[in-house]
């Protein structure tokens, strides 16, 4: 009897915490609706959760009226993550314990431009903060990921043409001007590698490759536990390794790059006559629904990507290959042929055969990496005091000298 009562209470507590997580912040009245619990139960549970420092109650304005918002406890301060993708922008706000408090996805047009997309990113950050009852001055830093090689210091894309619309833009400076917070920029695959090597599938491994297969293909290289970026930030850009000397000219200007063979356009084109107008997510969904044509396309891509990863792995001798990006959401359809391509290479089978595993963080790896990047930099600072003028005073340039080293 006592046991079942306490487990009921546990379940109710979990319902309240889940609802708060899902919405970012809710008033107690909203919590009643969201959980189906009585106002009295909600009130008791909220008190308990506040005492346990799991949630906080913040004064805010809701629909023009004062309200008390229940949010997850914001430990010490907040960080924001911004992930710029080929066709969508994702923004998240998390506390320093890496707990995501609120998140929003905005679909983007093809070949979106830095000015409008960064404006929108800034507005989304502010909106998410409002959703969790916080303000900009609680934000210690912002991590931003771009689907192109970048110079970590300026956040500028280093190879023209790969992310048209962003060329020549000092991304870190532009966004930190909009939000008056320090902004740290890295390549998306590097961020995936950072997240997977700190809290994901490669956390117990020193040397690993993170392969991100989505609209394009990129890799993040982890050596001795640190992400290796290279002098121009192009380390791991396997999307621009030549696989077809007689192939098409790539967005980077070279001929027959991997991206011209397995990039989104290359994957979608052969499906057009049979399947009509598909997006990459359609292909993933159809593959998972066992559509033979889509499976064929994804599996062949796995073989080609595996071949290129084999080359990189032969040079670097990692212990593990972690595969992320939206194509990895097809599971073994993509990973199987990749693994097969690696198995054929003798050097990769020595001492401990190279393993291929899906990203533990799934398609969230890059966003988690963006949050981790911001956290990493804030770790470099003096432990910030949580007061109103705490860490906000640090200038962008000062903070960035660490360049993502842990």
């Amino acid at each position: 009897m006592v046991g079942s009562q306490s487990s009921l209470r546990e379940a109710n507590r979990a319902r309240v915490v889940d609802a708060v997580k899902r919405h970012g912040g809710l008033t107690q009245v909203e919590l009643t609706g969201a959980t189906g619990l009585s106002p009295a139960t909600v009130s008791t549970i909220v008190k308990e959760l506040v005492a346990a420092e799991l949630v906080e109650v913040r004064n805010t304005i809701r629909s023009g009226r004062r309200a008390q918002l229940v949010t997850l406890a914001h430990r010490v301060g907040l960080v924001a993550g911004v992930l710029v993708g080929a066709r969508q922008l994702t923004v998240a706000v998390a506390d320093v314990s890496h707990e995501v408090l609120a998140e929003q996805v905005l679909p983007l047009p093809a070949e979106h431009r830095a000015d409008t997309s960064l404006d929108r990113a800034a507005l989304l950050v502010v909106d998410l903060l409002e959703r969790v009852g916080s303000e900009l001055d609680e934000v210690l830093g912002i991590g931003l990921g771009l689907p192109a090689p970048v110079d970590a210091a300026s956040g500028q894309v280093t190879v023209r043409g790969i992310l048209r619309g962003w060329d020549g833009v000092p991304v870190a400076q532009v966004l930190s001007k909009r939000l008056a917070r320090p902004v740290f920029v890295d390549n998306d695959a590097n961020l995936g590698a950072l997240a997977e090597s700190t809290v994901g599938a490669a956390r117990e491994v020193h040397d690993a490759l993170y392969v991100r297969a989505g609209h394009g293909v990129g890799a993040g290289i982890v050596l001795a536990g640190r992400v290796h970026r290279g002098v121009a930030g192009t380390a791991g850009e396997i999307g621009h390794v030549q696989v077809d000397p007689a192939g098409n000219i790539c967005s980077c200007g070279s001929r027959g790059c991997l991206d011209t063979v397995v990039g989104d356009r290359a994957l979608l084109e052969p499906l057009r006559s049979s399947h009509g107008n598909l997006t990459l997510s359609d292909v993933v969904r159809l593959t998972n629904e066992d559509d033979p044509g889509c499976r064929e396309i994804v599996a062949d891509a796995g073989t080609v990507v595996g071949g290129v990863v084999a080359g990189l792995a032969t040079s670097l001798n990692p212990e593990l290959v972690v595969v992320g990006g939206v194509l990895a959401a097809t599971g073994e359809v993509f990973l199987g042929p990749m693994r097969e391509a690696l198995r054929r290479r003798t050097l990769l089978q020595q001492v401990t055969p190279l393993e291929v595993v899906p990203a533990a963080l799934g398609t969230r790896a890059e966003l988690e990496g963006a949050l981790a990047l911001a956290l990493q930099h804030t770790d470099l600072l003096e432990q910030p005091d949580t007061g109103p003028n705490g860490p906000g005073d640090v200038a962008v340039g000062q903070v960035r000298t660490g360049k993502g080293n842990r």
């Binding site: 919405h23 909203e30 919590l31 066709r87 909106d127 997510s281 359609d282």
Partner: protein
Amino acid sequence: MRGRTPLLALRQVSRYFGAVEALVDVDLEVHAHEVVALVGDNGAGKSTLAKVVAGVLSPSSGQVEVDGEPVTISSPSVANQLGVASVFQDLAVCENLDVTANVFLGQELRGRAGLLRDGEMETETRALLEHLTIRIPSVRTPLRHLSAGQRQAVVIARTLIGQPRIVVLDEPTAALSVAQTAEVLTHIQRLRELGLGVILISHNLNDVRAVSDRIEVLRHGRNNGSFPASATHEEILAAITGAA
């Protein structure tokens, strides 16, 4: 092409208001699993087209087809029967009714004695919101407590009552914040994923290019170009203004 017969087709549709040529010989096709954007300057005829499809206005001439069969969409209820649901610019929501009541507005589920089947409607509303990944704390919240974005989401959820195959959205992101726009665009992607055909009317080329498969331009009530989503802002703008 998969689904060669469009779900919905307009063939040479015209609509006059006295001397005003709101639509002149307009062609439009919408397939299942496709978002077709309709763009054009103010007064280009976009809302008129939406109302023709929704059964609010009848065409002066021309043919409307559903599944390749000629149809006469003589009223909104005929539109519903044909699987067409619409959301207009002036959102018709009831401020003091809750989310469930608004979702089922005018299409309430009733039992034998004519009593409202409240529990069922609530369950279905919850399922719909979940389905569209709409974040609204409670289906019992009165609409006046919701943000503009959440209201728009309720109205989009409403279109799914009666399992339509075609959804027409007239300016669904007008007057919304970026975050609210983000939500609505995500819902539109979801409608497409569910296999519906969507007509998206909007001024905002950024929004339109983000979620559409195809972009159709109207100018002075006439077709003035058809573009893939990969078309540039400038190309589409030129067709809208007539510079092309």
